[in-house]
């Protein structure tokens, strides 16, 4: 009797399972996002302070949350690769990195676009903004490091080491940036105080984006498993075809 993780870690079984789950995840994500878009544009009030621009919140905040959650997922996968040597853990880490980078980029972009009307500038060197920017750099580092190796399995493990180093340094960065910054922006911390009329659309959008991420992640993992199969078959196909080595010289 295999445990659930063991079953999931078997690539063939993963392919079967993910093929069945993927349409559902994608479908629910799409439905939630459509509903969330409706809510955020037609069924939520303008903020008394921020006016209509508060509608940027409904995409900004999910992207920002995802940027952090995805890094967490990469860190867990990296740990799985280094400690348990699950090949699927690496597939997961590799597939998640570009998607996480994209959401981080979107959090930065939508944040800046919100910042112009709110703060009068696209960018301030505020603590939270700076630490998200550095998170983005960590993503870039992960992608660049992996790309720099011809030997994929070495690249995978090295990237995993970097991801784990990054996860220990992230809280320090967040904390240190808080410390360093003297120019705190007010009103960026009101989770608890968000008006219920805005909280509901925000929750719907956040859930929708999270599911969207999982759908994309599953698809990316499936692609990666296929890519590895193709590569393994190609190398096997030409393996040992060094004529001089396998046949006596004519």
């Amino acid at each position: 009797m295999q445990t659930l993780t063991q079953q999931l870690a078997n690539p063939t079984r993963f392919m079967d399972l993910s093929a069945r789950v993927l349409p559902w995840v994608a479908g629910i994500a799409a439905a939630l996002i459509v509903y969330g878009l409706y809510l955020s544009f037609f069924d939520s009030p303008a903020d008394y302070q921020q006016g209509e621009t508060v509608r940027i919140m409904y995409i900004h905040v999910p992207c920002a949350w995802l940027s952090m959650m995805v890094y967490g997922l990469i860190a867990v996968s990296s740990f799985g690769l280094l400690v348990f040597r699950h090949p699927l853990a690496d597939v997961s880490a590799k597939a998640a990195a570009p998607i996480g980078a994209a959401f981080t980029f979107l959090a930065l972009l939508t944040g800046s676009l919100w910042g112009k009307p709110m703060w009068g500038t696209y960018w301030v060197w505020d603590a939270r903004l700076t630490s998200v920017l550095i998170l983005f750099f960590l993503y870039l580092g992960l992608i660049a490091l992996r790309a720099a190796f011809e030997d994929e399995s070495a690249g995978a493990k090295l990237t995993a080491v970097l991801a784990l180093v990054g996860v220990t340094i992230l809280p320090i960065i967040k904390f240190s940036v808080n410390w360093w910054n003297t120019l705190h922006q007010p009103s960026t911390d009101f989770t608890a105080t968000v008006d219920p009329s805005m909280r509901w659309p925000l929750l719907v959008m956040a859930l929708g984006f999270t599911l969207l991420f999982f759908a994309m992640h599953l698809k990316a993992m499936r692609n990666e498993v296929l890519r590895r199969r193709v590569k393994a078959m190609r190398t096997q196909a030409v393996a040992g075809r060094d004529r001089l080595a396998t046949q006596p010289a004519e």
Binding site: G51, I59, F105, P117, M216, N223, R229, V230
Partner: protein, 56 residues
């Protein structure tokens, strides 16, 4: 719908998210199709995976 004086920022934000997300989805679908096609081509040439091949 009136989004006030800063409508452009809102629209650009939503558009950017839409572009990036559809871009990602498009890339994933295309990539998936490419890998599947490559796999099929190899199988057509009679090349089999080693039995119980690992993901690597």
């Amino acid at each position: 719908m009136d989004l006030g004086p800063h409508a452009a920022f809102i629209w650009i934000s939503y558009a950017a998210v839409a572009v990036v997300v559809t871009g990602l989805i498009g890339w994933l679908l295309l990539d998936g199709r490419k890998q599947a096609a490559a796999l099929e081509a190899l199988e057509k040439r009679g090349i089999r995976r080693r039995s119980s091949a690992s993901a690597e």
